[in-house]
């Protein structure tokens, strides 16, 4: 109702409609409840892509504190850089990308040919998809995705794949480290300079693009208390004048002659800070440091970043209670630890709030959760790592699936990043629409039905092999219970369970032992016929479960 109706209603003494908004008052005090498979899966599905049984079992044997500690302290090496796997032209006059041999990395090779760069952009995205699929047992890969999204650069806009990879690698090096330093360095990142026109920003003709996004999207945000002024944006732009791209060597350079040497004066929001104008080759770095220090001295940075974090890993609604009980104390931790991520992540993922029942099973999967999570949870087997052609081919397929579902790696719709993490009021619900939801279902259907055959290697969901890892696959009730438990964070009714059992696993038969006999027959004698009997039913079971609404939530 509008305001007038509301007032009229109250005058007539009608009670205002009570809208029951599900909410929670819990905060970041340490979670002390049970630590069972349920809690492990909740934590892993949020911090990784899917919860593989091996990972669940691994962490079940540890404490919550040990688990979170391992999740935020990855020990596995980062993936080797992308390699050339694309076909090169042999046509005379067409750039052959000849410096790089097949199977070796292209990341250090300078080549300005548009076609080659297009191929490398694709190569980079395939590679990243592979990194997601092969993620280590930590939050690292998901956190990198979060940070890349935070900075919102578009590969198709920048064009240069080497630069995009370099930005990715910069974020990767800083991922679970110091955010403040990351912001400082990414301000000089070659892709960022290109994307937000920083390389054009000079004393004679300031370009405010980067300065504006630095405040609005990367650090301070647009919260109610983030009251920097238009003048602050202009002054920050002056601080950032002089940075350029050497398009021959692909290096960031600082040209002091293009730098504004006057003092930069900021508003009361920044306590009227004056950044002293400098001259010479070090001016750019010195003033950038001052700008970063000034910005990060403000409380709003930590609050804004923690809200971003919250919307990725907990839920999108931040009500007053959450602001007070969760956002504010986490922001304090962030600030007190000089913008190191690990203390914040440790506090959040061990908190009562994170494990609050109200916050479980309520996040709509993003396309990476859907595609990569399904691939991992199904223990999908990929070609031998030495067969890079087949692997890149398959990674390309899954990259395309994520793109078709609305998440194009390192190519968000605009600098704000993916709308699901900022667009009021739908947020995560943006992922699900009449175009994307059928695609999500088609993806799992295809992976169960046939998968993909690329370079002679088929990658497919193996339903029988997965059932084999269940604790009692011969009992249809236990099998379905475990499948539902592994894939769904929300229960489904006993009526539905029984319907699924009878209609799918028993194909209409009334006795459980027909499934048991079929499974035992396959175990005792794995002939093609016996395999097919159980496989067709398991395929139908998993396809059906993956098509249910419950499967979209983690």
């Amino acid at each position: 109702m509008d305001r007038r109706e509301f007032l009229t209603a109250s005058r007539r003494n009608k009670p205002a409609p009570v809208v029951q908004v599900p909410r929670t008052l819990s905060g970041i005090e340490t979670y002390t409840g049970p630590w069972t498979e349920q809690e492990v899966m909740h934590l892993l599905k949020r911090t990784m892509f899917g919860a593989k049984l091996a990972d669940v079992n691994y962490f079940k044997g540890r404490t919550l504190a040990q688990t979170v500690n391992e999740l935020v302290n990855p020990t596995a090496p980062n993936p080797a850089p992308p390699v050339k796997e694309y076909a090169t032209s042999t046509t005379l006059g067409v750039n052959a990308d000849a410096n790089i041999a097949q199977g070796t990395t292209w990341i250090n090779d300078i080549n300005n040919d548009g076609t080659v760069q297009g191929q490398r952009r694709a190569s980079y995205k395939k590679w990243w998809t592979g990194a997601l699929i092969n993620q280590d047992r930590s939050i690292r890969e998901k956190f990198i995705l979060f940070l890349v999204d935070h900075f919102g650069n578009e590969a198709t806009d920048v064009g240069n794949a080497n630069w995009m990879y370099r930005q990715h690698d910069l974020i990767r090096q800083y991922a679970l480290g110091n955010f403040k330093n990351l912001v400082r360095d990414i301000s000089k990142d070659i892709a960022m300079l290109r994307y937000l026109n920083g390389y054009l920003n000079n004393a004679a003709a300031p370009d405010e693009n980067y300065a504006r996004e630095l405040f609005e999207l990367f650090t301070l945000g647009k919260g109610p208390d983030s009251r920097y002024t238009e003048s602050d944006v202009k002054e920050a732009a002056k601080v950032l004048t002089g940075w350029q791209i050497n398009f021959t060597t692909w290096q960031t350079i600082f040209t002091s002659s293009r730098h504004t040497t006057a003092n930069k004066t900021f508003s009361s929001f920044f306590n009227n800070t004056v950044i002293a104008g400098r001259t010479g080759t070090t001016a750019g770095d010195l003033e950038l440091n001052d700008l970063i220090n000034m910005t990060f001295a403000h409380n709003e940075v930590a609050k804004f970043l923690v809200r971003r974090l919250y919307r990725w890993f907990v839920y999108y609604t931040i009500d007053d209670a959450t602001e007070i009980n969760v956002i504010t104390p986490l922001a304090t931790i962030f600030r007190n630890n000089n913008y190191e991520w690990k203390p914040v992540l440790t506090a959040l993922f061990q908190s009562q709030h994170f494990f609050d029942m109200m916050n479980r099973g309520c996040v709509i999967k993003n396309p990476a959760d859907q595609v990569i999570g399904a691939i991992r949870e199904m223990n999908t087997v990929f070609p031998d790592p030495t067969n890079y052609l087949a692997n890149y081919g398959h990674w390309n397929t899954f990259y395309n699936w994520m793109t078709n579902m609305g998440m194009n790696l390192h190519d968000p719709p605009n600098v704000s990043g993916m709308p699901a993490y900022y667009q009021e009021p739908l947020f995560h619900e943006i992922w699900i629409n009449s175009d994307s939801l059928p695609k999500r279902n088609q993806f799992t259907d295809i992976m169960v039905n046939s998968g993909y055959l690329i370079s002679g290697v088929r990658v497919q969901f193996n339903c029988v092999a997965l059932a084999q890892t269940f604790f009692n696959p011969g009992n249809p009730n236990d099998l379905i219970d475990e499948a539902v438990n592994r894939f769904f964070r929300n229960p489904i009714s006993t009526t539905s369970l029984s319907q699924i059992k009878t209609q799918i696993l028993l194909t209409g038969q009334q006795w459980d032992y027909y499934w048991t006999n079929a499974w035992m027959a396959y175990q005792a004698n794995p002939t093609t016929a016996n395999f097919n009997t159980v496989n067709t039913r398991l395929m139908n079971l998993f396809k059906y479960l993956f098509n249910l609404a419950e499967y979209q939530l983690i």
Partner: protein, 531 residues
Amino acid sequence: MKRKDFLYSSIPAAAMLPEMINGYSIKAFNMQSPLVQALMQGTTLTDHVLVIVQLSGGNDGLNTVIPVADYSRYFNARTNVAIPENRVLSIAGVTGTGIHPSMTGMQSLFTEGKAKLIQAVGYPQPNFSHFRSTDIWMSASNSNQEVYTGWAGRYLNYEYPDFPIGYPNADMPDPLAIQIGSTTSLTLQGPTVNMGMSITNPTSFYNLINGTTDPVPNTRAGKELKFVRQTNQQTQGYASAVRTAANSVTSQYTYPTNNSLADQLKIVARLIKGGLRTRVYMVSFGGFDTHSVQVNAADTTTGSHATLLQRVSDAIKAFQEDLKFLGVEERVVGMTFSEFGRRIKSNSSSGTDHGAAAPMFLFGKSVDPGMLGVNPTLPATATVNDNIPMQYDFRSIYSTLLEKWFCLDRSVVNSLFPPNVNSQLQSLPLIKAGVCNSVTPPNPTPVEVMVTNYPNPFQTTTTIKFRTAGGHTLIQIMDTLGRVLLNLVDKEYTAGTYTIPFDSEPLPPGVYYARFQNGVNQHVRAMLKVR
């Protein structure tokens, strides 16, 4: 685009149409493409509908269709479950064969000339596993062959080769097939996708009719679950078409209550009348796995099997009345099938175990009424493993329906079945003449003996004599388990009488059957091998 461009274009959140998320819409593209539209039209123009009724568990054919003319052998084989001879219901125009006393509905359909009984339908090398045999019936594969598509799915794929790309569309706005009462069926599986829309799926429109869905808790998870489910319902390309069809029918014939098959068929009738162009409907009804106490000892005409048959019979009768009431009787033919029949000899717990060939029913105004085939050949003293020898391969029933009801060319029909049975598929008198403007094959002359053997009994070799009207002629040697041991004859002949020796050297003594098939005719001859 840059964020600033984005903001300038100032799209309110509400205007973010789902189809526009990636800047294009597949649906819109396809709807505008005349080429794609042309490809979407069904290859064969027909308004005919086939309703497949699956009886899960393996229906006891011998207590469904009782060989009255051979009653003493029938009774001796299954004393504890046998239906008393005087209680068996007669079938109009048929002597020596009757149906279960609870099937009064079917009996009246026979009287009205709207039902067909086909005796002893099965396949070579019967499999006694529910799962495997169901897969065989649904895929129409050979017994020893793994086929991952369903026979009706292959048919629909022939008619709509690009499905589901670009569907629904103006030419085919409705689901190609609808399955009620089972979530997934091999029958409707096409080469790449399932051609059917299942409407017990909790995410689809069935809930709008029946109102059953898992509850949503008042939590954040509940909010999102509800949201995804709602989107799913909107996403069902066919939801509105199906809902519109269902809602346009406000008055139907009265169906029996407490009968889930009737509930399903009632929805089918409603959707057909509502104008859906859906060609295949599939419903299923379970509980036929009657290993024990299928009858009440005090009165074998009652008990669990009697209840099942009554529900099937009542449901089909009501469905047929409803189709008439709704004025769509001409468009619909129905067919029952079960994954197998049951053994000739009953077991000691008043039940019957997994068997082989069994009768099928067709129903509808367009079926060629009466009985096809003869009473099954029963042994004088049935032993525990004896099965009814097959008279008709189930794929001959399917292929005839595709040819005579869905009006496909024989060559196309043949392409939908395993190559090795193509030459053996029979075109049978199942559908009345004229529905596809083609001639229905004449009913076979029932008493004429086509195949004999001499000597009989025999020790090693016997000579089989057969008379063929010309064309493809098949003689299969089967054992008492219902297995086809070999095809003694399987080729083209000119009309005439022929003999061929049958050397039984490696086979143990016992009863064997020679199944002769020529055109619409088939005949089974029992042969006794002795020491």
